[in-house]
């Protein structure tokens, strides 16, 4: 992990309120799927944690973020050529298992981005990869093509039914009758709960309000689901945890 000024090479809108930003950084190759960077936004104090979505080559990495507040709104105004400061890579990454038949990636909203790099890594070892993406509506959908291009089997669900299966990712999984039992999941809390109710093997990513992003301040902790006195820092032991580990 390290703080660095990096050059933005692209910052474009890819879906409703959703932007994709590519940065040039010579250490991009040290980034692992599931990790995040803490992005400095001009005019704001605390950095914004954003997942690493893709490392297309050794010198570039991509993030995808949604405008939800003032910080992300400001970030969306950054132009290609501008310099921004990032701190990372931070946190744990998705462990890669080559001893399973297939994997199922489940992403909701801005939980989708980190799964792309994960899929890219898995596709290198030719793993059968199912991808189920959930969004609010058709306008919010992104990355369907990107996953397909990697050779994944992709299903999309939207809450209002304006694209793909109507309903949640769970509805889409049922509709497609996906039998893979090893899951990687990133998304809003209700989605995590639903996934945890059905699957026991795999990993999940969590969000939490952060300050340091590096494990020093204890802002972002969550308790262990089983051990009374144990806690985890989402930014350090997380954001990726085995399913069933964290009490949230």
């Amino acid at each position: 992990m390290q703080a660095a000024d990096v050059r933005v090479t692209e910052n474009i809108k890819i879906a409703k309120d959703t932007y994709k930003m590519t940065m040039e950084w010579e250490k991009s190759s040290t980034m692992r799927p599931g990790q995040f960077v803490n992005v400095q936004v001009d005019g704001f104090m605390l950095r914004r944690p954003i997942s690493i979505s893709l490392v297309p080559d050794r010198r570039h990495f991509v993030i995808v973020y949604k405008i939800v507040g003032e910080g992300t709104a400001k970030l969306s105004q950054v132009k290609a050529g501008d310099i921004i400061n990032i701190f990372g890579p931070l946190g744990s990454s998705y462990p890669i298992h080559d001893d399973t038949d297939s994997i199922l990636l489940i992403g909701g909203g801005v939980g989708v981005p980190p799964l792309l790099e994960l899929a890219r890594v898995y596709k290198k070892i030719r793993m059968k990869t199912y991808v189920v993406l959930g969004f609010n509506d058709g306008e919010s959908v992104f990355y369907e093509e990107e996953f397909k291009k990697l050779g994944c089997e992709v299903y999309v669900a939207t809450m209002d039914g304006s694209y793909g299966v109507k309903g949640t990712v769970m509805d889409a999984i049922e509709a497609a009758d996906i039998d893979s039992t090893f899951v990687y999941c990133c998304g809003p809390v209700p989605m995590l709960k639903a996934v945890e109710a059905k699957y026991t093997k795999g990993y999940m990513s969590f969000e939490s309000r952060m300050a340091c992003g590096m494990g020093a301040c204890m802002a972002c902790v969550a308790k262990d689901k089983k051990e009374e006195n144990m806690y985890h820092r989402i930014c350090k032991e997380g954001p990726v945890f085995p399913i069933g580990k964290v009490d949230y």
């Binding site: 104090m45 939490s208 300050a211 590096m214 204890m218 802002a219 006195n229």
Partner: protein, 302 residues
Amino acid sequence: MDLRVKLPGLDLKNPIIPASGCFGFGREFAELYDLSKLGGIAIKSATPERRFGNPTPRVAETPSGMLNAIGLQNPGVDEIIEKELPWLAGFDTEIIANVAGATEDDYVTVIEKLNDSPVIKAYELNISCPNVKHGGIGLGTKPELAAKVTAMAKKAAKKPVYVKLSPNVTDIVEIAKAVEEAGADGLVLINTLMGMRIDLATGKPIIANVTGGLSGPAIKPVAVRMVYQTAQAVNIPIIGVGGITCAEDVLEFLYAGASAVEVGMYNFVDPYCCVKIIDELPKVLEKYGFSSVGEAVGKSFR
């Protein structure tokens, strides 16, 4: 340029100390730079037992600052002695143990346990936290209570005792004097201001604990004022803290009467800020005509 500062128990190679709660026990920052560069380190508040702290969210951003309500999460003094201090012993920097508790006896317990550690050079009493014995009010808000815990700590302590004062008081000088009279070897000013933010969508406080401590550049004018007022009223040294981001801010605190400073939340904004400040400080001191840190101390009222 002479950056050294000599304070009770502390032989600082420079006046820059990461503030308690903003640096953990240094392990994470040690991945970024050599901790031996620092004047000292104020480690996370230690309590007698392990504490999980408050529910989350524990932090929120504010204009030029942030709120936190971590709730003194720490592994407890025993584990700190066993796991953290031996590791910190590997660095050439002065370790200050920040001590907290829910009762006055807690402070004594923690201090007695830490007394024999050669790593700890001084204590810093965090008397801002709500105290169960006194109906949840902070010991730092009443002169008599602040004096009492200081006297008890001094009696137990084999090392100098600094008291870190709460700014949420009508008269900081009154508290500072009470604490000095009770035997404090030095003061640390200031802890966080009590504040809150409300989520527009839910209408409820953003921080689960409802209120939190405000820190960052937003509070710097309040911190400088309190250091300035206190420095003229007491004869013990002051470590200044509150909103420091750069070497210029350090100079402002020195002028106000601080002998050294702590840097808190800015470590989150720029994780290298402490070493950057240490690098910049000689140039800034020189620019304004000083050849040592000491020369600038208290210049605003001398």
